[in-house]
């Protein structure tokens, strides 16, 4: 499928590669969402975090979500990269790029993707604090 690029990676995310994958000369809109590792969560100082994933399944489920998006909106290409392993504070943990003719579709689809990511994509986050660590559970929001 030439309309999507999906990766779960241990390396720093290469935004430019994702952008270039999605950009086409007949498209006017490219929306990019960056998820960034925060230094605080629930009023606790976070030192770094680790993502664990069920890699093959995560990629497969992300592809299904993209199918859902393409059914709902007139979007053109989607590129998504999500980190696994250790991610330091301020580093990018996820990049989602969606291109479309009209900006409403790529913006709405971005929102939808993240909702679905938090529901069904088998990726888990563990936060490390000065005094311990904990597995997170997606909270509604």
């Amino acid at each position: 499928m030439n309309d999507r690029y999906i990766e779960i990676t241990n390396e720093e995310i290469d935004f430019k590669k994702l952008y270039n994958f999605c950009k086409e000369d007949h498209l006017g809109a490219v929306n990019v969402f960056f998820g960034v590792t925060r230094n605080v969560n629930n009023a606790k100082k976070v030192l770094y975090l680790e993502y664990e994933s069920y890699k093959n399944m995560a990629e497969k489920i992300i592809s299904k979500i993209i199918d859902e998006m393409i059914n709902k909106w007139d979007i053109y290409k989607v590129a998504i990269s999500h980190r696994s392993g250790r991610v330091d504070i301020g580093q990018i943990s996820m990049v989602l790029v969606i291109s479309s003719m009209h900006r409403k579709s790529s913006i709405s689809a971005t929102d939808y993707f993240i909702d679905r990511l938090k529901e069904i994509v088998p990726i888990w986050k563990k936060e490390f604090y000065e005094d311990g660590e904990s597995w997170l559970s997606s909270t509604p929001g």
Partner: protein, 86 residues
């Protein structure tokens, strides 16, 4: 009878200190049946398995799915990708 592989992730993997196990089960065993076998074999302590989703061969299935020889069953605790940005 055949063997199926069951894999664990994140909080469950750490709690059980177990990445995967193999269990034996008969023809026409449902996911529901597999979970029952699992709970007899393993002490999940206070962990509530019912909040997990189940995947077979990398797709979500419901409790009535009948497992086949060679299936890879994954126990999927509530996911938390994307919880950085709520």
């Amino acid at each position: 009878m055949f063997e199926v592989k069951i894999i664990f992730f994140s909080i469950l993997r750490e709690k059980l200190n177990l990445r995967e196990i193999f269990i034996e089960c008969g023809e026409n065993t449902s996911i529901h049946g597999v979970i029952e076998i699992l709970m007899r074999k393993i002490n999940f302590e206070d962990y509530d398995l019912s909040k997990c989703m189940i995947a077979v061969n990398e797709d979500y299935v419901d409790d009535n799915y009948l497992i086949k020889n060679g299936d890879e069953i994954a126990i999927i605790p509530p996911v938390s990708g994307g919880s950085d940005f709520l």
